[in-house]
Amino acid sequence: MSGQDLLTISPLIAAILVAVAVLIVDLVAPGRREPALATALLGLGIVAILTAVAGRTPGQAFGGSYTVDALTTFLDLLFISIVALTIAFAPDYLEPRDLPIAEFAAVLIFALTGAMLIAASTDLLVLFLALELMVLPGYLLAAYAKRDSLSTEGAIKYFLLGSFSSAIFLFGLAYVWGLTGSTRVADVAAELGKIASGGAALSPGLALGLAFMTTGVAFKIAAVPFHYWTPDAYQGSPTPVTGYLSVGPKVGAFALILRLFVGALGSLRGDWLDVVIVLAALTMTLGNLVALTQNNVKRMLAYSSIAHTGYMLVGLAAYAGGRQEGLQGLLYYGAAYTFMNLGAFAVVAALQRRPGVTSSLDTFAGLGRREPLLGILMTLFLLSLTGIPPTAGFFGKAYVILAAVQAGGPLTILAVIAMLNAAAAAFYYLRVVVYMFMREPATEAESQRHGNLVWAGLWTTSVLTILLGLIPAPLLSVVSDAARALGS
């Protein structure tokens, strides 16, 4: 370890320090939310600045197991925004339920360190450790309302299936390590490159290893048919946690895919093309079909997040089909999805501020009259999730579709399937709009006051949702740099 190494991983160290600082502040001033929140948000600001600074000098640390490049910076900043926004949305929901806020923020920031490590790791073992570091706090958060049986049930399902999939992933990793002789992504890639160029055959053991790793990752991103834990975990968790779970670990798992499947197994992409196409088609279709029948908005958004995984997989499939644009589309979609989905969950959480309010569709009845601004913002997020221009969600969809069309062949059909899915999804997203603006509430609910942090977060997500749709050029250049960092 050298001084340079420490400098390279300084954002990671800073994030850990921030989490610790939040806990210490809570010890010093127990029961008061402001100091802890201020520490967390300020600290995250510092981490973001450090990330941006460190990102200007791409390089590696610890003998090539930790890499800082454009992709790392992009993903890190995305993770930081996810965590910061979640911390902004949470207090209004947690406080009335007597759930501690400082611990919540600290646990989230620990998860952030895991996600940031995934984005930077170029070693399979570090990748696995980072993955666990990211998901373990997630289990905690899912069970955060520990007296709520639904929350506990969801968390246990999440934990069991999560550990199960981690084990499968690790099992596959062991095979790959054994048969390629290294855990460094670059070495594995070189070894597999030989196979791809015909210099060696793909041994059954290696194929098995790859299959296990694919399965493990498919669990993590909740791709069909490995999605069964999602709806229960999402519905049971406290709503701000659900918002985080639907975005943070998902983008994190996609970061893992980029580092692993693109970085290490990229040369074999022709071999996993078919698998990704089938996964993508199944995931979006099933996610959408089941979402159509949901009467609970949280559960509906859970299934819809499965569908969005499918759209992102279209980008991955386009990459496997030979188009670099697929990765760019995937990254763009990831960013767009982050803000629109967090925003939508934030509105649900804001409505549920008073304990006892469910997230059923009826809660939304008459919202447009009761709280017009909240209704309009929710409409914006839902339109973006549907993919109506000029919003971030539209441009994300257009991007992955463009990549798929460029790859051509079976991917054109996949693009058509994706668009038909988007049309079907319009039905359940717009149903929420119907309840908000076109139906009268069964019982008159009172309008509620929302904290400044919630409004700040909602404004941030909504402005970004519009800006990423209207002026996509800046983010486009960022994602194309990030995709280029992975090599072609």
Binding site: P389, L402, L420, S477, S480
Partner: protein, 513 residues
Amino acid sequence: MPGGILTLITFVPLVGAIVIAFLPRERPDLARFTALAAALLTWVFSLYMLIGFLPTHPGFQFVEVADWIPAFGIQYKLGADGLSVVLVVLTTTLTWISILASFGPIRERVKEYMISFLILEVGMVGVFLALDLFLFYIFWEVVLVPMYLIIGIWGGPNRIYATIKFVLYTLVGSLLMLVAILATGFAFQDAHGGQWAGAFDFEQLRAFAGTTGFANGLQLGAFLAFFLAFAIKIPMFPFHTWLPDAHVEAPTAGSVILAGILLKLGGYGFIRFALPLFPDAAKTYAPVIIVLSLIALIYGAIVALVQPDLKKLVAYSSVSHMGFVTLGIFIFQQQGLYGAILQMVNHGLITGALFLLVGVIYERTHDRTIAKMSGLSGRTPVYAATFGFFMLASVGLPGLSGFVGEFLVLVGSFAYAPAVAGLATLTMIFTAGYLLWMYQRLFFGEVSAFLHEIGSHLTDMRPVETLTLVPLATLVVVFGLFPGLVLHLVEGTVTSVLNGLGRATAINLLFWQ
């Protein structure tokens, strides 16, 4: 002519919408008049554009270009040719009329209504002016959301079913069109050595289509996707089933815009994009589309004949009348295309007026069942006369504008195939049948018991209502006597579209590679 006039026409309504958003909720009148002012201002600007437009000048005028997403060659590019100018002026005219017509009927959530209406105008005008396929798509979708809200919030009892049906139908078509747009742009990029510049620029794409031409496979697929999007919007048989529901549930002004402009987006899309970009595919599919148009013509008329609901009758008459538009476009004849364009304008004016008139009676009786009304002419003579005027225009009485468009399409289709012309002419008899019968049931005979009950509420037309109809009636007469006013403007468009098609040959569906 100063630069930026097209941007001005497109975005003045948006400015109006933003202003209304900040007006106090307790003062609905402020919102009403601000909306009207914004719409009138837009109208004035569009007239200014009409005056500055040079019909003899080939190509697009007032073109504005700015890079938007340079990485993919996507531009903010607006421009107008004769077809755009005509349809933009139609849009701006019908918009202020509709806003004025909403003053009375819309009493709830006036602010939101007016904002929706103005954003709707942004989308419609944008569609007619966009010269970049990506930009066009964005405006195309922008139209969807306000219309969804207008039907869903201010519509009739079954409005939620109707509005969701409207959105889902339209989205299926338009999302597939997005795939086709991206595929077309990529094909252009691929043929230009991977350079994205101009890949979504309509003029460059058209030039490419006219010289090298897109590959057969792409043409067949992309045309199909464009066709689906436009056919649903027009709507062509068998994609029309959303229309009667949407019309019946929509508030009066919503119906006016739906029939007057939204249906024209489909016809415009065919003429502007589908034919010039994929001429070979257009020739390939044309026979099928002509058959569908004939079915729409006859089916729409027959179904209109048996409608008990006045608004549904007018809605089905739209299906029938729009059949003339698609027929006129796809026979690839000069007269046909002129007729189709003229028919789009006339249908916008006449059917828009008919929906306004249906709204007048609905305001008073809260009912639209034809069987419940009779003898209206004695109680409301001015209304009866006005209704009669537009009804005859819709029938296609010579001297009024409805006649000229249909006549030109018939002339064109006779040159294409006499049998087609024969069937289409048959429709005109049906049209006269259902409209005259409807008129007779409504206005002649004894005053019905239902109308007696309404009593003194059954007043004749109010000044505002007359005010909304006078401009439409004037235009119907003017275009009926001097159709050349419109035809002269669109000459350049028609020539260029037919030139492009002239070089095209149908693709052999069995042996294309």
